[in-house]
């Protein structure tokens, strides 16, 4: 083939495919984009809930809004890495499920969803204070609360009965005494003090608050190094040795579930996932007497310290990412998902493990089914955000994410530091953040 013939042929091909036009326009072609929304969430501890997303939400939202929903689930502890990668590269999931006060850390990357929050709050009796604190920056909603997983102690009723404790201990001192007796019977308390998102901070922060300790004052000045905090660390150090399974220092959020279900521990702070698993696997999980394990499980709030009790419940929120090419579709999906008829399909399979972000869900008939789940019904009415008495902003999120409060207890519990040293270390680390 001659060069001239070759050039003619190629030229004709280029013109036919429209590349000539693209080159002259100096911009990429616009293709008809499908209305696709990619949502990234955690692997739910209640797998049936992920099934609802994939098998119910996906076809229904396609039918109702023409949105093709892509549901991706990963380990909860890996979500921050995905969020960071998405924000920095400017591409990734359209909606990311965030935990605790992560919305504060990524506030500048979230689309304003105040309109959805206002609509949902108004129609459903108001959004609870704790998720509101996590999701708002200067009164702007940077993420939409999806659910709260209340932290309650799941315990073996018969084992506590055996040591003469007919009602779950109301104070730390009483819990310590009971735990000591149970550990002597090879039935310790199970609690993680590891680097994990849920059970570790849900235990450590309320323990500190219940003794009167706090990270900062209302002005954001670090006040952690106090006699109240020290007292709580001293208490925990002894409590750990006397009553706990000391392997808890290496646990993540799933270890206590397995340990409880296999009959290795007498009590643990958790969402209701242990009970839900025992309920769903009644033939599999049994007591030592052969009865279904769920018949021997009850729930109770954390005991109170000298300054009462302020729980922390894990907040699950959805952030519509600013980099998304389909923020409109993402917001439409959230609005659709929060309508009571649609939200109900997801929340009922949770059986109380995760509860709604608004007060309306306290009145749902699902709470009449099982009295064991009743403590979870109104749990969201109480709760204190991390970073108390300051704001639960980016600094509080950083402190949580570095596990400073959790490590303060862990280092003293495992003998790596004396309680005094551990409190001073934690106060020093906080001071570097709150500068």
């Amino acid at each position: 083939m001659k060069r001239r013939t070759f050039l003619k042929t190629v030229g004709a091909g280029v013109a036919a495919t429209g590349i000539e036009g693209i080159l002259s326009a100096q911009r990429a072609p616009v293709f008809a984009q499908a209305n696709t929304v990619h949502i990234l969430r955690w692997n739910d501890f209640v797998p049936a809930a992920d099934k609802v997303l994939r098998e119910v939400y996906v076809p229904e939202v396609q039918k109702a809004l023409g949105i093709k929903l892509n549901v991706e689930t990963v380990n909860a502890n890996d979500i921050p890495a995905r969020a960071t990668a998405g924000i920095q590269s400017g591409s990734g999931p359209d909606i990311i499920m965030l935990l605790n006060n992560y919305p504060q850390l990524y506030a500048s990357s979230g689309v304003d969803v105040s309109d959805i929050a206002a609509e949902v709050g108004k129609a459903q009796g108001g959004i609870y204070g704790l998720p509101e604190a996590m999701c708002t920056v200067n009164k702007k909603w940077v993420a939409m609360p999806w659910a709260t997983v209340p932290a309650m102690i799941a315990y073996r009723k018969s084992w506590f009965d055996e040591i003469g404790v007919k009602e779950f201990p109301k104070t730390w001192a009483a819990y310590h005494e009971a735990g000591k007796k149970l550990k002597a019977m090879k039935r310790p308390i199970g609690q993680t003090l590891g680097h994990t998102f849920g059970d570790a901070p849900s235990f450590a922060y309320p323990l500190m608050w219940s003794f009167g300790g706090q990270e900062v004052d209302a002005k954001g000045k670090v006040v952690l190094d106090s006699k109240e905090t020290l007292e709580s660390v001293r208490f925990m150090t002894q409590f750990w040795k006397d009553a706990h399974d000391e392997g808890g220092l290496a646990w993540d959020d799933s270890n206590n579930n397995r340990a409880f279900l296999s009959g290795d521990i007498c009590a643990t702070l958790n969402g209701a996932s242990i009970y839900v698993a025992a309920l769903n696997g009644a033939d599999k999980f049994k007591t030592e007497k052969g009865a279904p394990l769920h018949t021997d499980i009850l729930h109770a709030p954390l005991p109170a310290g000298p300054k009462g009790q302020n729980p922390y419940h894990t907040a699950f929120t959805h952030m519509v990412m600013k980099y998304s090419k389909n923020t409109k579709g993402a917001k439409e999906f959230l609005r659709w998902a929060h309508t009571p008829a649609n939200y109900e399909k997801w929340v009922v399979v949770q059986k109380g493990f995760a509860i709604g972000p608004t007060r309306q869900w306290e009145n749902h008939p699902m709470w009449n089914v099982d009295p064991v789940m009743l403590p979870f019904k109104t749990a969201s009415q109480q709760g204190r955000p991390m970073g108390f008495a300051g704001t639960p902003g980016a600094k509080a999120a950083e402190a949580w994410n570095k596990y400073i409060i959790v490590d303060m207890y862990a280092q003293a519990a495992n003998g790596k530091m004396k309680p005094e040293e551990s409190v001073k270390w934690a106060a020093g680390e906080l001071s570097k953040i709150y500068t």
Partner: protein
């Protein structure tokens, strides 16, 4: 049109162009540049650019979603005074030192064994590579289960065989967890040492051993005066690679301990990840990770100089 006329029909200008191109490619320097260009491009895009960006990030207060501003060496100073980082640095040195020692000792022992003739030699050599072939994440998960604080199979075996009366704190005690990490790294990295040293052993002529044996040298003398000097260059290369990989290890610790308990097993890489990626403090994370660079640079430089001296000798 015939072939001859096609060739002969080329315009004089075209002939000149072709001959220029051929002449240019005949230049060795230019040809080398052309052939190297794709490799250099890959290095620039995937190695140099991220490295320069990391240096730039480390000099700024960039946070996730926020470009930040130039802060000079503030991130490095903060890292230097950070007790968790100091601990992570010590851990990284400890982890690299012991893991490399064990990998080398066991790898050499295994290579010497595999260099002998025995039945199923090929099968054993192939199966030895298994720990190295399995993705680190998968093998680290398997080890994590074996070290599980509650359900550890090793605790179960030791308990039921009467060796222990209480569970061993494999991952729940900082010191134990660090040694567990060294063990897993050794298990995973030893085949690399063994197979590379084995390749080196096979290049040593048996005549040298025979000559030494005839001179009355026993096994130890033959190893020390024949095998070891000839194996030294290979050993140095393997050790350099291993030190680099172990010092910058991330996956194994991330999966096995997550840096816990209470930051006891954080390495520089895992702590940099926690600060930079998980906490969104990209500038501080970049500064932390760059602390690895001078150490690795020094290790590589010293070992390369040592090799050069050996080659000269």
């Amino acid at each position: 049109m015939g072939a001859g006329s096609a060739a002969g029909g080329a315009l004089p200008g075209e002939r000149v162009q072709v001959s220029r191109l051929v002449r240019m490619l005949e230049s060795e320097k230019l040809l080398a540049a052309v052939l190297l260009a794709p490799g250099v491009l890959i290095l620039v895009v995937f190695i140099a650019y991220p490295f320069v960006m990391a240096i730039w990030f480390s000099l700024t207060s960039i946070r996730v979603g926020n470009p930040g501003e130039f802060v000079g060496l503030a991130n490095f100073i903060k890292a230097w005074n950070d007790t968790i980082f100091q601990n992570a640095f010590r851990n990284t040195v400890f982890y690299t030192f012991w893991a490399t020692i064990f990998k080398f000792a066991l790898g050499m022992w295994l290579a010497l064994l595999l260099n002998r003739n025995f039945r199923f030699k090929r099968l054993v050599r192939a199966s030895m590579l298994l720990p190295f072939i399995i993705p680190t994440v998968l093998s680290a998960f398997a080890w994590r289960w074996m070290f599980d604080p509650t359900f550890s199979v090793m605790n179960w075996v030791l308990f039921h065989s009467g060796v222990i009366t209480d569970r061993l704190p494999f991952l729940s005690d900082g010191d134990w967890a660090m040694w567990c990490a060294v063990l897993v790294n050794t298990w995973r990295g030893m085949p690399f040492f063994a197979i590379t040293l084995l390749a080196g052993l096979q290049t040593i002529s048996p005549d040298l051993h025979e000559a030494a044996a005839l001179d009355g040298a026993n096994g130890w003398y033959r190893f020390w005066h024949v095998t070891w000097p000839l194996l030294m260059p290979v050993t140095l290369v393997v050790v350099v690679f291993s030190v680099i990989q172990t010092f910058s290890d991330f996956q194994l610790i991330y999966v096995l301990t997550g840096g816990g308990p209470a930051n006891s097993t954080h390495l520089i890489a895992t702590y940099a990840y926690q600060v930079g990626v998980a906490s969104g403090l990209l500038g501080e994370g970049a500064a932390l990770s760059l602390f690895m660079f001078p150490v690795l640079f020094a290790v590589v430089w010293i070992q390369l100089r040592f090799m050069k001296r050996m080659e000269g000798a």
